[in-house]
């Protein structure tokens, strides 16, 4: 199962370099307020008022509590001024939060008629935490995986850039061609990723073909099923963050969501088959096909579970809110989990279809007795 051999090693020096730079970067985000246009403040003192008990219509017990925060502004025209800001939070913290000393926050500052400043909190500054976690992930990756880790990182980053550009394009076109854009993008994603992982090889071409076939197959199945069942039991209007017609966005999301997993499955099957062929070049097409199926079927279960758990867990906050708001299990499921369920099922179908596709592509391309 050997893939591209590392062409050069990532040395210890590089890793140390990344960790030091990372530490500096984390430190920098603590002091980067000048980069932001919005006023950033640091909390220097917190005074909590009394808790007030709250009971809602569904007999949920909660409380609300006010806190007065003394904040020092770190940037802009109000720099070094101290302000008092009010914040209200609850025990559940669904949309609010209790602030702590030394946290940095974004503010909206207004000058009142009597020249006093009035400020409200718009959000917490989260860049340090996310930069820290990113650097932790990158350092661990380079530390354990060296060159392959670097390539994996590169492919994720390039895909991110591609994703970002496609979204710009979609907005530019007013969201009229979302399916076309992301359909084409899926080809781009697959091509780019496989090129980075496998290089410009026969193996890459085969894997690309199998990935496209698996994804295309699952999308066709979905479209047919959606048409035949008239979307029964699905509520596209419940999709979150929708600014354009929801159904095409949903299908585009489904294509992208399953693409990575289908690629994963195809890569594993085909690289194993190429390795098998190298060791025993005398296998017939049929034998190769069957051994591809054998490899594929042991991967498919865990792989479908990966996406399934991601899609389902993502709905937890909303599910809990529905359940606590007196909705039945069935209603909460339909409104929150059913679309994620469809996405899991579609990617599952894609993953399963990739098995015969990958086995067939690889077995028909690898000639018997050929020692390529």
């Amino acid at each position: 199962m050997s893939k591209v051999q590392p062409r050069y090693q990532v040395s210890w020096f590089t890793i140390l370099f990344v960790i030091v730079i990372g530490g500096l970067l984390c430190f920098a985000t603590q002091h980067n307020a000048a980069l932001y246009k919005a006023p950033v403040g640091q909390i220097i003192k917190v005074t909590n008022e009394k808790r007030i008990k709250q009971v809602d219509n569904f007999h949920n017990h909660d409380y609300s509590q006010k806190q007065i925060l003394k904040v020092r502004v770190l940037n802009g025209q109000y720099r070094n001024k101290t302000l008092n800001v009010q914040n209200t939070f609850s025990a559940s913290n669904a949309m609010d939060q209790a602030y702590r000393k030394n946290q940095q926050i974004f503010l909206a500052v207004q000058k009142k008629s009597d020249h006093k400043l009035q400020a409200t909190i718009t959000d917490l500054k989260r860049d340090t935490s996310i930069v820290f976690l990113s650097l932790l992930a990158i350092s661990l990756l380079l530390l354990t995986m060296k060159f392959s880790g670097f390539m994996a990182l590169l492919s994720v980053l390039l895909n991110g850039v591609l994703f970002f550009l496609a979204i710009k394009l979609d907005v530019l076109l007013q969201g009229t061609n979302v399916l076309e854009i992301f359909g084409v993008l899926a080809f781009g994603f697959a091509g780019l990723t496989l090129f980075l992982v496998l290089g410009k090889t026969k193996q890459m071409v085969v894997t690309f073909g199998a990935t496209i076939l698996g994804t295309l197959g699952s999308v066709l199945v979905t479209l047919i099923v959606l048409n035949l069942t008239h979307d029964q039991g699905l509520h596209f209007e419940t999709m979150e963050y929708v600014t354009q017609s929801p159904k095409p966005v949903f299908i585009a999301e489904t294509i992208l969501g399953s693409l990575g997993a289908v690629m994963d499955e195809s890569t594993d099957i085909i690289s194993s088959l190429f390795a098998v062929h190298r060791e025993t070049p005398d296998l017939t097409h049929r034998q190769l096909f069957l051994s591809g199926r054998e490899i594929g079927k042991s991967i498919m279960g865990p792989l479908i579970n990966v996406l399934f758990l991601i899609f389902m867990a993502d709905t937890f906050a909303m599910m809990v809110l529905y359940l606590r708001n007196g909705d039945s299990w069935g209603y909460a499921f339909t409104m929150n989990m059913s679309l994620g369920m469809v996405q899991s099922l579609v990617s599952g179908i894609g993953i399963v279809l990739a098995i015969p596709a990958a086995s067939w592509f690889a077995s028909s391309l690898l000639k018997r007795g050929d020692r390529a």
Binding site: K3, D56, D62, S64, S90, A91, S92, N93, A94, M95, Q97, L124, R126, I130, S134, L136, A137, T144, M145, L153, S155, V156, N159, D170, T193, L196, V221, T222, G233, Y241, T243, Q244, A252, E253, L256, G257, S258, G260, M263, D264, M300, P302, L309, I310, M312, A313, D314, F316, A317, L321, L323, R324, N325, W329, V342, L345, G348, I349, V352, I355
Partner: protein
């Protein structure tokens, strides 16, 4: 018939046709995991201790995914111990990170979906968010653990006398083969599902500053990074478990 039941039927038939008995078992693991996930959220809704329920079900989900995903006893046992260890490590990272980033519950972008709902429901949403992050990383951890221990098992069966120190190198090289594609599975799995949100950011002209500090974006990025870290940790940890098992087995043989 509803769309979901037709798709379930198609997936079931496809899995059995392609995978036979193994396909049936994999399908069963999906059904059980669904039941466990649903039970977890219902129990959280009923005010059960969130972390306790989540951790308990997380271990069961790992067991179900691994033991129904592969047959070989050496592979499954190693993968299970390895993934539980990694889960513990990941939880130890998730809890402080969630407290630091404060990304629980809902963001301003959810306002429309929350209309008419009571938000004062007396459930700690920070813990719900921890539960979400733990559960969403489990699949990737289980998958990587199976891949590593199956790869090592294969090497051991071909070369049973392989020195233990050599095994670690082999584990890392199996890891190198899976890491690229696993990362992409996670990347697309997470971000593909949030296409709508990204379009929203772009449409409403969010600045880079707003984008990088946005509650929902950071919560999503946090989940994806935690899963990445989980997968990375799985490689050495599972290899280490395999080493221990092999050492113990060999010691028994001699003694």
């Amino acid at each position: 018939m509803s769309t979901i039941s037709v798709l379930v039927l198609i997936l079931f038939v496809a899995m059995v046709l392609v995978g036979g008995l193994q396909g049936l078992k994999s399908f069963l693991s999906l059904v059980i995991n669904f039941a466990l996930i649903f039970m977890t959220v219902v129990l959280i809704g009923l005010n059960f201790p969130i972390l306790g329920i989540t951790l308990l079900n997380a271990v069961i989900i790992l067991a179900v995914t691994i033991y129904l995903g592969d047959d070989d006893p050496l592979t499954t046992e190693t993968a299970f111990y390895g993934s539980v260890l990694v889960m513990v490590l990941v939880v130890l990272l998730i809890i402080p990170m969630e407290h630091w980033a404060v990304v629980q519950g809902f963001g301003n972008e959810n306002t429309e979906d929350l209309e008419g709902m009571s938000l004062l429901v007396g459930i700690k949403f920070l813990d719900v968010s921890i539960a979400t992050t733990i559960l969403s990383s489990l699949g990737a951890i289980a998958e990587a653990a199976i891949a590593i221990s199956a790869g090592l098992g294969e090497i051991l069966s071909q070369n049973p006398e392989i020195p233990v120190t050599r095994l670690f190198k082999d584990g890392m090289s199996v890891g190198r083969q899976i890491i690229g594609t696993t990362f992409n599975t996670l990347f697309f799995g997470f971000f593909g599902g949030f296409l709508g949100l990204f379009i929203w950011f772009e449409r409403l002209n969010y600045t880079w500053g707003e984008f990088v500090n946005n509650k929902i974006f950071v919560s999503e990025l946090l989940m994806i990074l935690i899963s990445f870290i989980g997968v990375i940790l799985t490689i050495p940890v599972t290899t280490w478990v395999m080493e221990l098992k092999v050492q113990r087995k060999r010691a028994k043989k001699i003694g």
